[in-house]
């Protein structure tokens, strides 16, 4: 019996030591395009392209017969799905792909989705008079490694505010909105539409936009799997073309885009319109706009030991498709 247990343990150790065996999938035609996104006004372009049928219509000539959308509450689970090979493209904040690519995700950022777009919101009874106001305050924001956490900490450091003197509480957007609504934190730093929700409820006031903290910082981007890039470059080009078309449409028809977003997510239309009107973000598609800040995020991630190596522009971006599309 003891011998059997020993053999079983040994087998388990060997198996664990080897890790799992990954198999390289052979190149194949993509008939179903799996798109990941989050219910954020930052990513309205994806929703507009989906609701107007542009994904299906534009990608049909490339053999894509089915579009499958997957909604995620935040970037990390979305990247986990991509790591598992369950997504072909992802609309996602720029930070989660950095840690995922550092851990072996075979994917690249091929286009930008938006820049800026987060607000520091204070409770109505908490006065704000500059970055120094945050000393001793409790601020709810996304966990370490997120764009919000990185942007806020850099802003504090740039303004000589010791990060250790601000009580930064890592949490999700829903929990942060609940916390400030219940008056349990002094402020939150969140991407839109959460600041608009808080303002509309009269539970807080936006005091600094993230674009003031770090002008034109990268926020969401379009990530495409390496398999798609290698095996279906024409399809990737078309995906970018459709993304550009949707982004331009959102910029020229913000009210209709807000309606599409509201209908898709069930969020109050007035609140969405308020968010779209008041945010400091911009819907963009040129990846060059995101490169400097994204490379800086990667450097900070490496310094903070969130990644084991410092990722470069080449590790993170493939701008060749966008350039080809723009040059025609």
């Amino acid at each position: 019996m003891k011998k059997l247990i020993f053999i079983a343990l040994l087998a388990a150790v060997v198996l664990l030591s080897l890790g799992c065996i990954s198999s390289e999938k052979k190149s194949e035609n993509v008939t179903t395009l799996r798109i990941g996104y989050q219910p954020s006004t930052h990513q309205i372009a994806e929703m507009v392209a989906a609701e107007k049928g542009w994904w299906a219509e534009d990608l049909k000539p490339f053999g894509v017969t089915e579009i499958k959308e997957f909604e995620f509450p935040s970037g990390p689970p979305e990247m986990q799905a991509m790591l598992a090979g369950d997504l072909d493209i992802a609309y996602v904040g720029t930070a989660p792909p950095i840690s995922a690519i550092a851990q072996g995700l075979d994917a690249k950022i091929v286009a930008a989705v938006n820049i800026n777009g987060s607000d520091l919101v204070f409770k109505p009874d908490v006065a704000y008079s500059g970055p120094q106001s945050l000393i001793g305050k409790s601020i709810g924001t996304f966990p370490p490694g997120s764009i919000q956490d990185t942007v806020m900490k850099k802003w504090l450091q740039d303004n000589d505010v010791p990060v250790s003197e601000v009580k930064i509480l890592p949490m999700g957007p829903g929990d942060a909105v609940t916390a400030i609504t219940a008056g349990k934190v002094d402020g939150v730093f969140l991407p839109h539409p959460s600041p608009a929700i808080i303002e509309q409820e009269g539970k807080g006031e936006s005091v600094v936009a993230s674009g003031e903290m770090w002008p034109n910082h990268a926020c969401c981007s379009l990530v495409v799997s390496g398999r798609l890039i290698r095996d279906n470059p024409e399809l990737v080009e078309q995906i970018i073309k459709t993304h550009i078309k949707a982004t331009e449409y959102v910029n020229s028809h913000p009210d209709e885009a807000a309606q599409i977003y509201s209908a898709k997510t069930g969020q109050d239309l007035n609140m969405v319109e308020h968010s779209v009107e008041t945010w400091d973000g911009m819907w963009v598609s040129d990846p060059e706009l995101q490169i400097p800040s994204t490379v800086e995020y990667a450097r900070i991630d490496y310094e903070m030991n969130y990644t084991q190596r410092e990722l470069t522009e080449d590790d993170l971006f493939d701008t060749s498709f966008y350039k080809r599309v723009i040059l025609g």
Partner: protein, 230 residues
């Protein structure tokens, strides 16, 4: 597959390496916080579940009054209570303890109730013949000792659920350390070797506490049962 093998299942040696890197943090930062959350939840669970379960098991009127409330609340997942935990307790250790409490309270309550309800009538009648006529005496000397094995079983189940709830309890900003918080935090960074390490630590801690509990309860308090089924 868009991924190397590490992300599907980190190897034994990768987890060992993660342990080498972070064992000090686990011991000094994470374990104390998680044990605090666990103790708060389990302590509150025991304080609420034992008297309520005993009252429900002993007094039919209490059973009829409280049972519907218990059965309405019991199926609600502890995760669903997070917004109320934030509103009621703020972003405090008590809020995390509350989530653990929600997971732990019902197994103890139900097992206490069942233990009391299965008390044979002949025991009560014999005790009354011998002079224990008050409810308090009957509960203390007859019903509680009889129900103790069932209560102990409930506590063991509750401890298992409490550890499960700990991960949810530490994901909404109550602390920046703790075994549950670190599982989320490393998952956000896709460091699956660390995620697995913390999962293993959580499992081992659960095993250690369960064994300690069983030693105290089964080898000491329930020693009289030896020979019946063991």
């Amino acid at each position: 597959m868009a991924v190397d093998d590490t992300l599907i299942l980190p190897s034994f040696f990768q987890v060992l390496e993660a342990l080498e890197q972070s064992w000090q943090t686990i011991v000094t930062d994470d374990l104390p916080i998680s044990l605090l959350h666990f103790a708060l939840g389990m302590g509150a669970g025991l304080l609420v579940a034992l008297p309520v379960g005993m009252s429900m098991g002993w007094f039919r009127v209490v059973d009829r009054m409280i049972d519907p409330i218990v059965e309405i609340i019991r199926p609600i997942p502890p995760l669903a209570w997070i917004p109320f935990a934030i509103v009621w307790f703020g972003l405090t250790n008590e809020a995390a303890g509350f989530i653990v409490f929600i997971g732990a309270v019902f197994p103890i309550l139900i097992n206490t109730y069942v233990g009391f309800r299965s008390l044979p009538k002949v025991y009560v009648e014999s005790a009354k013949v011998l002079g224990a006529t008050r409810d308090a005496d009957l509960i203390r000397y007859i019903a509680f000792p009889f129900a103790l094995p069932s209560i102990a079983g409930g506590i063991r189940i509750a401890m298992g659920i409490a550890w499960m709830c700990l991960v949810a309890a530490e994901m909404f900003g109550v602390s920046t350390s703790g075994l549950g918080y670190k599982i989320w935090s490393y998952y956000y960074l896709h460091k699956m070797d660390y995620v697995l390490l913390y999962m293993i630590v959580l499992g081992l801690l659960g095993l250690l506490i369960d064994r300690s509990f069983r030693y105290v309860v089964e080898e000491r308090m329930l020693k009289w049962r030896v020979g019946l089924t063991q």
